[in-house]
């Protein structure tokens, strides 16, 4: 018999989930996409991810030293670094493969997260904040895309190809995939898009593997349908309604599959928009947030200057989250009646 029993306040037991399990589960769910990225783009992709993860951990370590905490291995810094790595283009010129991911990770951990007091207190998704930071800082490095499976040859991402293709297009293609094939002299099918034999960020290309990871998280109850379902539904609806306009085929002809499998949508929807810290706290708020993300993604992607809009859409919605939280408080039990009685 121990001399002293542990005294705690109720409840005395717990369902067993912890920050640790949440963070590492998400990291594990991303693993297939990581491996696929390395297979498709070679070692350069691996090195970029290593740099981003290590620098994220280093930044977290520095923060821990300053604030005297020990959160290095709670998985959040690792996950942030990993997400940043997955959002990087697979190859960068010169030393850019070191300083771009490093800058993104440092900005993400030290400023987007650290300045607010570490995990849980930030209102902007650190990984996306870091990514957007380097995107606007070193746009030239962030928009050069290596072709999969061939080293050193750059090509366009599907969305980028469509966007620049559209600007001067005079051919006859009436959907994005045909147009892409036409402009880039390639022969891609929807299956290629789905499996991920396309150009893009390291981790965004394979919709299939990302969906597998997402299913894992759904089973583990880590990501919430209140976010990703409205996100997808609103985005798909808007694309279906209006994207056809760009190809001259009118309303309700948008190519849903093409938009679904390209431009990091799956990565964003399941792994970044669902970030617990920067999404609303109530189910109602999550629905609004998810729908807003879907709308903005559509807006930026179809009408914006940049070909993909997932990261920007999510961080713009991050700004609104505190306001959503403010106005979507749940109804207090026993208060509805009280107000009615007072009237």
């Amino acid at each position: 018999m121990k001399d002293k029993l542990v005294i705690t306040s109720s409840p005395q037991f717990h369902n067993g989930d912890s920050t640790l399990t949440v963070m590492w589960s998400v990291s594990i769910a991303l693993l297939p996409a990581v491996i696929w990225g390395v297979i498709m783009f070679g070692l350069s992709a691996l090195w970029i991810m290593v740099v981003s993860v290590l620098s994220a951990l280093l930044a977290e370590y520095l923060l821990n030293r300053v604030y005297n905490k020990s959160t290095l291995w709670d998985g959040s810094a690792f996950l942030t670094g990993l997400l940043i790595g997955l959002n990087m283009p697979p190859d960068m010129p010169g030393l850019a493969w070191i300083y771009v991911p490093l800058g993104a990770s440092f900005f993400a951990i030290l400023i987007v997260k650290g300045a607010f007091g570490g995990l849980g207190n930030n209102w902007m998704n650190p990984a996306l904040g870091g990514r957007v930071f380097v995107f606007f800082s070193w746009t030239n490095h962030m928009t050069v895309w290596e072709k999969p499976l061939v080293d050193g040859v750059t090509g366009a991402t599907p969305l980028g190809g469509v966007k620049s293709g559209l600007l001067g297009y005079s051919g006859s293609a009436s959907n994005p995939l045909d147009l892409l094939n036409d402009v880039t002299n390639s022969n891609l099918t929807y299956l290629d898009l789905f499996i991920g034999k396309i150009g893009g960020s390291i981790g965004e290309i394979s919709a299939l593997l990302l969906i597998l990871g997402a299913i894992f998280l759904i089973i583990k109850k880590i990501i919430r349908w209140e976010i990703y379902v409205p996100y997808l539904v609103v985005f798909i609806l808007l694309v279906w309604c209006f994207d056809g306009n760009r190809f001259g085929t009118g309303l309700f002809t948008g190519d849903i599959l093409f938009h679904l499998f390209t431009g990091g949508l799956i990565l964003g929807v399941f792994f970044m928009a669902t970030d617990m810290v920067t999404s609303p706290i109530t189910a109602k708020g999550m629905l609004i947030y998810g729908a807003g993300c879907g709308f903005l993604t559509f807006l930026f992607r179809v009408y914006g200057a940049n070909p993909e809009g997932v990261s920007l859409a999510i961080i713009v919605m991050n700004i609104i989250v505190p306001l959503i939280n403010r106005y979507t408080k749940p109804q207090l039990f026993g208060h509805a009646k009280l107000e009615a009685a007072n009237e």
Partner: protein, 203 residues
Amino acid sequence: MKVFTKGVFRENPVFAIVLGLCPALAVTSMVWNAIGMGFGVIFVLVCSNLFISLLRNYIPDEVHIPAYIVVIASFVTVVELLMKAYLPSLAASLGIFIPLIVVNCVILGRAEAFASKNGPLDSVLDGLGMGLGFTLALIAISLVREVLGAGQITLFEQGETLVRIKLGALNDNPIRVFAFPAGALIVMGYFKSLFDNIMKRSK
């Protein structure tokens, strides 16, 4: 002397009182712009403080704000016209922020708080100190921003004359966000924090 020095540090308009932020952040992407803006503000501040201090017993209370503003606005216009005539490229890059000196709350604030209650000499000193504090703050912010955001330090630029220090690799691939509004605000946040901590220590 105290009247002069307090504006430089202890009551620094930008860092301590957080006034005059718009120009402090908008024009600080280049050191030269900061210097130019700083001197414009010093000029307006000193002159308006002097005149308001001289006129303080003549201006009726009910219209003191319009009256002060007229005085300030005249000097702002003087600065604008002079700058356009003799430093056109600076005028172009400062753009709308020269006329906006008129609504810089530092100036009206000093007029209300100090010049309208003190003699001309003190008021001039106060204006000088405050203006200098403002300029120093601007230069500090702009140094960080230009080094990070453009990898260079521009000390003077007019026509063919250009004094600019380029910083090698950083100049080729600068962290451009620091040249944008976003970077300005973030830099300002850290400056403010740093300043607060120094103030706390020195107390």
